[in-house]
């Protein structure tokens, strides 16, 4: 018996039990649907259920038991971009609240059916604020993007960035990415990374980081995954932050019937690469202090 069919058997056995339990206790049922069950997803489901005083089930998109599970769920949480893309294959009732998590802003753009969504990536303006806190409030910052259209998709307009002291450099305007990068690094004190896995791919990141470092210019962001590679600092939301916000979204939606707009996570942490900071001779404030400074900036 291979691993897959073993899991299938387990689920088939568990399902009647699950239905029975839900019937008896009449508790809130959260159904997490994903394309790949990893520890992170299970943790997200468990902690969200605990935080919302609910029960959670995690099922694969392809799970045959999904129809039954949907029927008994109060809220469906789509986890990850694949779940959003393949949602058409799911028998979701029109009145079923559907929330998405561990997706990006871009992933959610055409998913109009979502009641709410929590973006995975940090908001760019938070990264900009972090860069200003580290480098100085009036320091010119540069942002690299493929094109104005792509920038708009991922975040905002160049004008909006300029108001925050950030100049956007578009690769499409140059013969090569490096030409754009060289111009950017010449005129700005730091590079703020936008969450664009295509641009900041494993293939490109080496070139971007080494080029910036040669000129003593740090990369801020785009996400915590880049810290180990050599980015100086980033804001990020860890699993507890995601759970905290997800619980808020679910509770607010169910309670009021008004689901919060898809958005960024207001709860976050700051992560530094201490070695890079020391090598660039930068003095960084304590992470928690930085978090509270950034929170203060975000408070209306």
């Amino acid at each position: 018996m291979d691993a897959w069919s073993f899991r299938q058997w387990l689920r088939l056995l568990a399902l009647p039990l699950l239905i029975g339990l839900s019937g008896t206790a009449n508790a809130l049922e959260l159904l997490f649907i994903t394309h790949k069950i990893v520890g992170l997803v299970s943790e997200l489901a468990e902690k969200t259920a605990t935080g919302s005083d609910a029960r959670s089930t995690v099922l694969l998109l392809t799970d045959p038991a999904i129809n039954t599970a949907v029927a008994s769920a109060d809220v469906v949480v789509l986890v990850g971009p694949v779940a959003i893309q393949q949602v058409a294959s799911l028998p979701l009732p029109d009145d079923m609240p559907v929330v998405a998590a561990l997706i990006t802003r871009e992933d959610s753009i055409n998913a109009n059916y979502l009641s709410s969504a929590l973006y995975l990536e940090p908001p760019l303006m938070r990264q900009v604020a972090l860069a200003h806190e580290i480098m100085g409030r009036k320091v010119p910052l540069g942002l690299l993007a493929s094109s104005p259209e792509r920038l708009q998709t991922l975040c905002c307009s160049p004008q909006a960035l300029r108001e925050h002291g950030v100049s956007a450099y578009f690769i499409n305007d140059y013969p090569s990415m490096n030409r754009a990068l060289v111009d950017l690094l010449q005129d700005n004190q730091a590079l703020v990374g936008i969450y664009d896995p295509e641009l900041f791919s494993a293939a490109n990141i080496k070139n971007i980081l080494i080029t910036a470092y040669r000129q003593n210019r740090p990369l801020i962001g785009p996400s915590s995954a880049y810290i180990r590679a050599g980015a100086l600092a980033t804001t990020y939301s860890d699993i507890d932050d995601i759970v905290r916000r997800l619980v808020e979204i679910i509770q607010q939606g169910l309670r009021s019937g008004h689901w919060p707009e898809p958005g960024y996570n207001p709860y976050f942490n700051v992560r530094y690469n201490g070695q890079v900071a020391r090598s660039l001779n930068l003095v960084l404030p304590d992470e928690q202090e930085m978090v509270s400074r950034l929170r203060d900036r975000e408070q209306p």
């Binding site: 990893v38 992170l40 997803v41 986890v79 990850g80 971009p81 561990l102 990006t104 995975l120 100085g136 009036k138 320091v139 010119p140 090569s176 490096n178 030409r179 060289v182 690094l185 004190q189 896995p197 494993a202 990141i205 080496k206 980081l209 080494i210 080029t211 470092y213 040669r214 000129q215 003593n216 996400s223 915590s224 995954a225 880049y226 810290i227 180990r228 590679a229 050599g230 980033t234 990020y236 939301s237 860890d238 699993i239 942490n269 992560r271 530094y272 690469n273 201490g274 070695q275 890079v276 900071a277 020391r278 090598s279 001779n281 930068l282 003095v283 960084l284 404030p285 304590d286 992470e287």
Partner: protein, 746 residues
């Protein structure tokens, strides 16, 4: 003024230090969210690895001044050595006979720069045959320099011999950082005429750059020149082309190759016998390749090899007394230099002609007031000199014309392997081995070709005893054909007060190898194409000469102890480096290296102590201030005669110096103003020392039109004290030196 600056700085230092101590940042990385859903940490390479990252300044076991491309552009000076004025404790002079800028860190000869190592991307441009660095012959444009790291203090432990008082490490820009075309033309009132063109491009996984530069200058105007006149013959014109390629391969391999060809003409002033100026024509070529690999985040290694060739042609016509080319006088000089110098004087020759004995010659000298030893073989040489005149002593005053040269070709092959490894969080090592062959060909200086092979083993161990204390132990062991073996150690303790603040205590020792001419000369001035003369020769050798095995010089040695402080603060954004030092230099070769300097000893001594301060303050993103200051107290040791020789090594140095620079960059213009102030300059010669002050203003206007970036620049140097710095003829006939530049980047 220096005292005032120092007091203010020390007070502000303590105020800032107090504040920054509170900002003790958490060093440990917080394990963030493994965004395994989208892009895992593991998918991304660790790019800025432990071995690739530069050491934090607070942890460096040395005093280092870093001049970045940003400063080079802001100061807008025309030559490399002029950048060194901004380094605390560094002074610039100009050779009298060499027409070459010379640098001294604390103290050194103003004519020949031989106690500082200069590296360009790891390649030593320090000449082996006649120890010196010829700045005009370095084929790199200021526009192509990424940064210059000046290690202030003995660095043989890292860079090998000749890194005596310090190292100037020039690092060129990566071609990938200069993509496109850069053009620049400069013209100024001292004959400045300088063109620069560079093109960088990417091709697959390689970035390439081709740079061409031609520059000329009229140099100084002379002691008596006024109103813009130029009466000193010290012009120069140099040009080079260089190619730089950085190429990445699979498996974290990287290959950096460089090639350059350079040609130049340098005016040299005439000496006593010269009929025409013995100008230098130079041709240089170099090839270098460096293969490096990051094995993992904690281990990297590199192999670098280079070849460089330097041909200097210096020819002149001379007019000398025929008698000075007499082979008998040449032989007598080797036997009895003192007698030979008197050998063709009329009283001596007349006495020999009339049959005087050796004793009678000694008596004759004694009656003239000087002691002379005359052996029987000496007398025989003198009799041969008289016989060669054919009995007509009036021949001794005959003058003859001829042609002579002091051509020299230096060639160097160097290969070096270096391994950098981080064993664990607290231990890092750098180990390496290198082999170098220096090959010098010169009939004049060496009677042909001479070689010197050098083998080096070097290593440094960095041990983080705790988060607060870092211990560095390093050393270089050198084995050399021409000199004795030498070991240069360095021990450094860095005590971190905060991540960006530290106190360092460093003990380092270094050596300078006597060069081939100092140690093993075969120096003969051969004059050929002679007119008719009473000796009947068409080619003769000037009687004063130097021969092999005439010397047994020890390495020059320096022992330095320094106590330093480095601090970087964020509010205000300020960087402070303070150094208190004591240098003890022994076995110094103080005698000037001239044809006549037969007896040269490596036995003199200089002690120097003092303090240096460097402050970099970024007031706003658009403004920065650079301040460097030094107090240097040089003490000459030994007898009065020795001290007189050593004084030349202090001519360049000022007891107190302050250099301040302010830069402002606006949207489409920038302005940099610098002030140089040296006091008690050359104090061992003049009673109270001289004062030298000057201002520099550099302005730039730039714009962007589509993909074109045109710019216009202006540079003014105003001399407050218009006297000469070192030699009296090194003066300008105006107090304002200026140039304009026009450039286009696209």
């Amino acid at each position: 003024m220096a005292v005032l600056v120092w007091t203010l700085m020390v007070i502000s230092l303590f105020c800032i230090a107090d504040k920054a101590m509170a900002n003790n940042l958490e060093e440990e990385l917080i394990p963030g969210l493994a965004e395994s859903y989208r892009l895992d940490d593991e998918d991304l390479p660790v790019v800025l690895t432990a071995t690739r990252l530069r050491q934090p300044r607070a942890e460096v076991p040395a005093s280092v001044t870093v001049i970045d491309a940003e400063q080079i552009e802001a100061w807008n000076v025309t030559t490399l050595p002029e950048l060194m004025r901004f380094v605390p404790g560094m002074f610039i002079g100009h050779g009298d006979d060499e027409n070459n800028a010379s640098l001294a860190y604390h103290s050194s000869s103003p004519s020949v720069m031989r106690r500082l190592q200069v590296l360009v991307d790891g390649r030593s441009v320090f000449r082996a045959g006649i120890a010196s660095v010829v700045w005009d012959d370095i084929p790199i444009a200021l526009e192509d320099i990424q940064r210059i790291e000046v290690t202030r203090g003995p660095s043989s432990a890292t860079y090998g011999s000749n890194s005596f008082q310090g190292v100037i490490n020039i690092i060129s820009k990566h071609p990938g950082d200069t993509l496109g075309v850069r053009l620049r033309y400069r013209n100024g009132n001292q004959g400045e005429d300088d063109s620069f063109a560079s093109y960088s491009w990417q091709q697959g996984r390689s970035a390439n750059r081709l740079t061409v530069q031609i520059n000329a200058s009229d140099g100084f105007d002379g002691a008596g020149a006024e109103n813009g006149a130029d009466e000193l013959r010290d012009s120069k014109r140099h040009g080079f082309i260089n190619f730089d390629q950085q190429r990445n391969f699979d498996g974290a391999w990287q290959l950096h190759t460089q090639a350059a060809y350079k040609s130049g003409h340098t005016d040299i002033r005439k000496s006593d016998y010269d009929q025409v100026a013995p100008d230098q024509d130079t041709r240089q070529g170099m090839l270098m390749a460096k293969l490096s690999r990051d094995f993992n985040a904690n281990h990297s290694a590199s192999l670098r090899a280079y070849w460089q060739h330097d041909r200097r042609t210096q020819e002149t016509f001379v007019r000398v007394p025929t008698a000075l080319l007499d082979p008998a006088l040449y032989d007598l000089y080797r036997d009895n230099p003192q007698l030979a110098s008197q050998g063709v004087s009329v009283p001596v020759v007349s006495a020999v002609a009339s049959g005087a004995s050796a004793e009678q010659l000694e008596a004759l000298a004694a009656s003239a007031g000087y002691a002379l030893d005359v052996s029987e073989s000496d007398l025989a040489y003198l009799q041969e000199i008289v016989a060669n005149t054919g009995g007509d002593l009036s021949n001794l005053s005959q003058q003859v014309n001829g042609y002579t040269d002091s051509n020299i070709t230096d060639e160097r092959f160097d290969i070096e392997f270096q391994d950098t490894r981080r064993w664990n969080r607290s231990l890092r090592t750098v180990l390496g081995v290198s082999m170098r062959r220096d090959q010098v060909t010169s009939e004049t200086y060496f009677g042909g070709k001479v070689n010197n092979d050098t083998y080096r083993f070097f290593g440094n161990l960095e041990w983080r005893q705790s988060d607060r204390l870092i211990v560095n132990m390093g050393g270089t062991y050198e084995r050399e054909d021409a000199n004795k073996d030498a070991f240069s150690p360095r021990v450094g303790l860095n005590l971190l007060l905060a991540p960006q603040q530290g106190i360092r205590l460093i003990h380092s020792e270094a050596v300078r190898s006597p060069d081939l001419l100092e140690q093993n000369p075969n120096y003969n001035v051969i004059i050929s194409g002679l007119d008719d003369n009473y000796l009947g020769i068409s080619e003769g050798t000037f009687f004063i000469h130097q021969w092999p095995e005439s010397r047994d010089l020890d390495h020059e040695r320096i022992i330095s102890t320094e106590l330093g402080y480095y601090g970087r603060f964020s509010g205000p954004d300020i960087e402070v480096d303070l150094k208190l030092f004591q240098e003890h230099m022994t076995h110094l070769i103080a005698d000037s290296i001239q044809l006549r300097s037969l007896a040269i000893g490596s036995d003199s001594q200089i002690d120097i102590d003092g303090a240096e301060l460097q402050v970099n303050w970024r007031i706003r993103p658009t403004d920065w201030i650079w301040l460097s200051s030094a107090y240097i107290n040089v003490e000459l040791k030994g007898e009065e005669g020795e001290r007189r020789q050593q004084r030349v090594d202090t001519r360049l140095s000022a007891q107190d110096s302050v250099v301040a620079s302010w830069h402002h960059k606006a949207h489409n213009w920038s302005l940099t103003a610098s002030h140089f102030w040296y006091d008690a300059y050359n104090s061992k010669y003049s009673r109270h020392g001289n004062r030298y002050r000057r201002y520099e203003i550099s302005m730039k206007v730039f714009d962007r039109v589509g993909r074109f970036n045109p710019w216009l620049g202006f540079h003014l140097q105003h001399l407050v004290d218009d006297g000469s710095l070192v030699y009296v003829n090194q003066q300008y006939s105006t107090t304002n030196l200026y140039n304009v530049q026009v450039g286009l980047n696209f």
